[in-house]
């Protein structure tokens, strides 16, 4: 088990990259550190690897304090964003390199290297030099090198950001199956929430050096802690609308007074809030009725193949709403041209974020 | 943390020790010496600015200054122009790498020739007697030609020529790399627009390598100011100080006349000028870097 306790990292000129960072990772889990650039995820990974010394705090691997330990003493494998293959060595030597450092005799380490290369289907490239490989192939070599010494922990620093869309999906599958086969604890750093949701057992979302939420992808999606998490997860992004709480059960939105069907944890009477609703949890109709009281001006309609996505505005807020009936595409397109109106219902499940601050006040 | 600092110093220690003792210390010592009348007897006595006064009072100083300035400017100008000429020819007009490398290699030969040999080459080439090469060649074309002592009669031209030939390779190669990295598109666009070759040189090549040109100008100027070796070996400043340049006079005063203090003073003045140019350059390149960022 990996324990990160009160990690704090300050760089030159007082740039605080991590603050009061606490995380517990169980063995064999696949964890994603997710967040925008500069949120501190790479810093955390480098501290875990021993490539950076934290300013304060401790890191424990299975109860042992490794905070000051050198990378080579931590039994980790790491895949870098740039792959960092050794250009003067063949693929085989690259993969066998970690075993060479351990003093493993040549024939043994070459055998192990070949096995791993077989597993990732690059056995035919063993005599080449890295410069002669494509991006995806280099990626696989980097993976082989990381796992050949059977580490307890596998660290992945945005390994797929240099690949094109199709390769990304291919490598994603490879990484996932490797992790499951070997049972290693894997920690992935990424800014791609789709990637994180697809691969990870649990995701830690970071912003400004602090963990915003640490939970399963599903929980992050359904029950985000705050505005930041809600906005980050999901594609298309969540819709947000400004409203004011009139009392514990009603709010005013777009000039209309509406009932709040979600239970809140505190009294927000008179306060500004933001409602966050997923595109596919809202619905609209062409004629106003009781369940669809909000008028929305239609701007654009997109045909996504499996359904339609309608862009519109309610007051000053822009929204995207899914519409399942594709046959009405032409109708909606015409409506959009005229900037016509449809009537929106908020559905039975949404989030209420207290403003300012963005904390989610809903009791799930 | 402390261990890391020690590690750094450990790596650097041979470097630091050598530089301090044999580079920095002499630099400081030179300044100190310039205020003394140290000579062959090796007795120190501080005389304040007396040496500097001597420099101003010396009747030769003006001649030496004139020689130095002429030498530097003329040589530098010729070197830069020829470097551009060679680089453009071998990189832009000559597309074949084989020929380009061939010519560049030939240009490099004078540079890698040891100075003691290089100077003899010129002395032989311009030998005053009838057997001298140039004299023989000229007599071949004109039977009445009487041999000229080239080095004695045109010493200034000779040292400029000798120095230029040796200096060409450096700038030519730097310009050549620079021209090579100009994006092909610019040339294509110019050709499509119907530009003549001369226009291409003027409006594409030169503007693109302007920073390199500035660097070479600075580099060659510094070199010409401080490198007196070829002059020493070919004319030794003569005849009668006609090719004596500032740096060479410092050498002569110190090692021939054994007036170490006086020689140091002459050196210090030159070092000051060099320093100013270097500071100007560092300042210019730093502001350029900042504006690029």
């Amino acid at each position: 088990m990996i324990e990160i306790n009160n990690l704090r990292k300050v760089f030159d000129r007082n740039v605080v990259a991590l603050e009061k960072f606490n995380l517990k990772i169980e063995d064999g889990q696949f964890i994603a550190l997710l967040g925008p650039s500069g949120c501190g995820k790479s810093t955390t990974l480098n501290c875990l690897a021993g490539l950076l010394d934290p300013t304060e705090g401790t890191i424990l691997f299975d109860g042992k304090d490794v905070t000051k330990a050198a990378p080579k003493d931590r039994n980790i494998g790491m895949v870098f964003q740039s792959y960092a293959l050794y250009p003067h060595l063949t693929v085989l030597d690259n993969i066998a390199f970690p075993l060479k450092q351990k003093g493993v005799p040549k024939h043994v380490r070459y055998t192990k290297a070949r096995d791993v290369a077989n597993k990732l289907q690059i056995h035919h490239l063993l005599d080449r030099k890295p410069a002669q490989l494509s991006g995806g192939q280099q990626q696989r070599v980097a993976l082989c090198r990381a796992i050949v010494k059977e580490p307890k922990i596998l660290l992945l620093d945005e390994p797929m950001s240099n690949l094109d869309a199709r390769l990304k999906i291919e490598i994603r599958e490879v990484i996932k199956s490797i992790q499951q086969d070997l049972g290693v604890t894997a920690i992935l750093v990424t800014h791609d929430q789709e990637e994180a949701m697809a691969l990870a057992d649990k995701i830690a979302i970071l912003d400004g050096g602090e963990i915003q939420q640490y939970n399963t992808p599903d929980m992050l999606y359904e029950c985000p802690n705050n505005l930041f998490v809600a906005n980050f997860m999901g594609n298309p992004p969540m819709n947000f609308m400004h409203a004011t709480m009139l009392d514990r059960t009603r709010f005013s939105l777009g000039g209309t007074s509406l009932e709040c069907v979600m239970k809140l944890d505190s009294d927000l009477t008179g306060k500004q809030v933001k409602l966050g609703i997923r595109s596919h949890l809202m619905s609209f109709v062409f004629e106003k009725d009781e369940a669809h009281p909000l008028s929305m001006q239609v701007r654009i309609v997109e045909n996504l193949g499996k359904d339609l996505l309608v862009y519109g505005t309610v007051g000053n807020d822009s929204l995207r709403v899914s519409y399942p009936d594709k046959s009405r595409f032409a109708e909606l397109a015409a409506l959009a041209k005229q900037k016509g109106t449809v009537y929106l219902g908020l559905g039975s499940r949404y989030n209420v974020f207290e403003m300012p601050g963005g904390r989610n006040c809903v009791l799930f | 943390m402390q261990g890391k600092h020690l590690q750094g110093y450990a790596f650097l220690s041979p470097f630091l020790v050598l530089i301090s003792i044999f580079y920095i210390a002499p630099a400081i010592l030179t300044i100190v010496m310039s205020f003394s009348n140290l000579d062959g007897s090796f007795l120190w006595e501080f005389v304040g600015f007396e040496n500097y006064g001597k420099i101003f009072k010396d009747p030769n100083t003006l001649l030496i200054l004139r020689n130095t300035i002429l030498y530097i400017f003329i040589s530098m100008f010729i070197i830069v122009v020829l470097d551009l000429f060679i680089a453009t020819l071998t990189t832009y007009f000559i597309k074949s790498d084989g020929w380009a490398s061939f010519f560049k290699s030939i240009i490099m030969i004078p540079m890698i020739t040891p100075s003691v040999v290089y100077s003899v080459l010129w002395i032989w080439y311009l030998d005053a007697s009838d057997a001298g090469f140039i004299n023989s060649v000229l007599r071949f074309f004109n039977k009445d030609f009487s041999s000229i002592n080239w080095i004695a009669q045109y010493p200034f031209q000779v040292i400029i020529l000798a120095q230029v030939v040796v200096s060409l390779a450096y700038g030519a190669i730097i310009f050549s790399s620079a021209i090579r990295s100009i994006p092909e598109n610019q040339f294509k666009a110019a050709h499509v627009d119907g530009a003549s070759e001369w226009e291409i040189v003027k409006t594409i090549i030169i503007p693109n390598i302007r920073p390199h040109i500035k660097f070479i100008i600075m580099w060659e100027t510094l070199g010409l100011m401080t490198n007196y070796l070829n002059i020493l070996l070919i004319t030794n400043g003569g005849p009668l100080n006609r090719t004596e340049v500032w740096a060479l006079s410092a050498y002569h005063k110190a090692f021939i006349d054994q007036q170490y203090g006086y020689g140091a003073a002459i050196s210090v003045l030159l070092i000051l000028v060099v320093f100013m140019i270097m500071l100007l350059w560092l300042f210019a390149s730093r502001t350029r870097k900042e504006s690029e960022e």
Binding site: Y86 | L12, L18, Y23, T30, P114, F133, V165
Partner: protein, 282 residues
């Protein structure tokens, strides 16, 4: 660019350029070729007699005797080997430290590198002489080696440091994760990545040390430790050639053989503008 891929007008321009370049370099080429061919001619016939100074004393026409070049050759070799090997090692260590390690004063030293490599070292010889005397190593080969090193190190260190800077952090980090210490990672991976830099420095160091004249001229007295440069110079004072040109040409050839060999071997490196080392005269 292959000849076939050029347009007609490009081909024409290339040929003109080649012709122009030939005319341009001809005087220089002739100067070298004709001079050095003198070495093989004595009394109108092809011979190698002019080279006899290499293995023993040599008698000249006017009854003067020239000492053998062997001691000078030996000293030159010792000097060059000493300078080049030390320069490569010391500049590598210093360059690595300045590039990768953290310590107090790093920035200052980095900036001073820029100044030191452009500084006119030749003007310091007066004071250098004094320092050598103070340390009791004046008039020794060892002393000249140390001075030559000190003058050249800022330049070499600067070059190698740039090479180290260019190595991606990730590769170094990768060696650490794969089980290396800084030193074993350096030895197994990093060195290979800066190999072109090392070669470049070694070549220029060799050229400079082998050809060096001024340091020996000013810092050594008497004839205790001749090197090839001072040996040849002793016979070629400006207006008075002690030996005939043919003999000097022969000496020149012998002197330049290692230079030509190095030059040919490292053609590529020199050509790619790695010329930052500069031969210098120090």
């Amino acid at each position: 660019m292959a000849y076939q891929n050029l347009t007609h007008s490009e081909r024409k321009k290339q040929n003109i350029a080649i012709a122009v370049m030939f005319v341009f370099i001809m005087p220089i080429v002739f100067m070298f070729i004709i001079f050095f061919s003198l070495a093989f001619i004595k009394d109108g016939s092809l011979t190698l007699e002019n080279f006899s100074f290499v293995w023993g004393e040599m008698k000249l026409r006017d009854q003067t005797t020239i000492k053998s070049m062997l001691p000078a050759l030996k000293n030159s070799m010792i000097f060059t080997f000493g300078v080049t090997s030390s320069e490569v090692v010391i500049s590598m260590l210093a360059g690595y430290a300045l590039s990768r390690l953290r310590f107090f004063g790093r920035k200052t030293i980095q900036t001073s590198l820029l100044v030191l490599r452009m500084f006119p070292t030749l003007l310091l010889l007066i004071a250098v002489l004094y320092v050598l005397m103070a340390l009791h190593i004046v008039n020794t080969l060892k002393g000249v080696v140390l001075v030559a090193l000190a003058f050249r190190l800022p330049g070499s260190t600067f070059i190698i440091k740039n090479f180290f800077d260019a190595i991606p952090r990730d590769i170094e980090n990768s060696t650490l994760v794969d089980g290396c210490t800084r030193f074993s990672g350096f030895r197994q991976v990093i060195i290979y990545l800066v190999k072109p830099g090392i070669v470049s420095i070694a070549v220029f160091s060799f050229l400079s040390a082998w050809s060096n004249f001024i340091l020996f001229n000013t810092l050594l007295f008497g004839n205790k430790t001749p090197v090839v440069a001072t040996y040849i110079r002793a016979l070629t004072r400006n207006e008075q050639m002690i030996a005939p040109y043919s003999v000097i040409a022969a000496m020149g050839i012998v002197y330049m053989i290692p230079v030509i060999i190095f030059f040919v071997i490292t053609q590529k490196q020199l050509m790619e503008g790695n010329i930052g080392g500069g031969k210098g005269t120090a």
